[in-house]
């Protein structure tokens, strides 16, 4: 697993929301989105998930999406980390942080980043159900989920 630790946007270790703000005094608005493993999907009880990534490509693509967000909005901070491996219910699967002088840019860019990460980046989840079955998620068919 140590090889994976070299990717700044892909992590095989748990992700936590930090109470520490970036040390950038110009920031007036800071938005954190976290995608959480929930216990129910499409009516089926989920026990845990497993995330797989094409790690080097996923890492590069997240970097590139963050760079695009920085071009579209005046951001002072932008970061995204996606977890891989086995995740239990209520663990954080993905986190997106954006910071700007005012809240509008931080909110809008955060949504832009998570939407593109979910749709474009080569990361996949397998759902494991309480009846012992499992299946790969079909992908982003529900736009806003």
């Amino acid at each position: 697993m140590s090889v994976l630790e070299t990717y700044s946007h892909i992590s095989s270790s748990p992700i936590f929301v930090s109470s520490q703000m970036p040390d950038i005094p110009e920031i007036g608005g800071f938005v954190v989105f976290s995608g959480i493993v929930r216990n129910l999907n499409e009516g089926k009880k989920v026990t845990h998930l497993e995330y797989e990534a094409y790690a080097p490509m996923a890492n590069e693509m997240i970097s590139s999406i963050l760079a695009d967000a920085r071009k579209k909005w005046d951001l002072l901070h932008a970061n995204c980390i996606h977890r891989i491996g086995k995740l239990e219910i209520s663990e954080i699967a993905v986190i997106v942080e954006t910071g700007s002088m005012h809240r509008a840019e931080a909110y809008e860019s955060n949504r832009y980043i998570i939407d593109r990460v979910k749709h474009e980046v080569p990361i996949w989840k397998k759902e494991f159900y309480s009846d012992g079955s499992s299946q790969w998620s079909k992908g982003c068919v529900h736009e806003s989920h």
């Binding site: 995608g35 995330y51 797989e52 990534a53 094409y54 080097p56 490509m57 996923a58 590069e60 996606h82 699967a93 993905v94 998570i114 990460v117 979910k118 749709h119 474009e120 980046v121 080569p122 990361i123 996949w124 989840k125 397998k126 790969w136 998620s137 079909k138 992908g139 982003c140």
Partner: protein, 80 residues
Amino acid sequence: MDIQLLFFAAVKDHFPDLKKIEVSEGDSILHLRNILTHTNPGSESILKVSRFAVNQTIVGDNFVLREGSVVAVLPPSSGG
């Protein structure tokens, strides 16, 4: 000539042991799609919606393969 293959998620389940495959000079991603579908007809529906990356860059159906190309077959993303 041989190309290397990387399969992920649902696609990997269709080709668990396939690591490389022989294609002809001038063959494109479209040819590779057909070869893979022919190899395992059950993979047709997932291959239709999958993207292909060569050396970590997404490419279209007309992209021509070269000796040693590393081709990744990427089913629809389901991160987040």
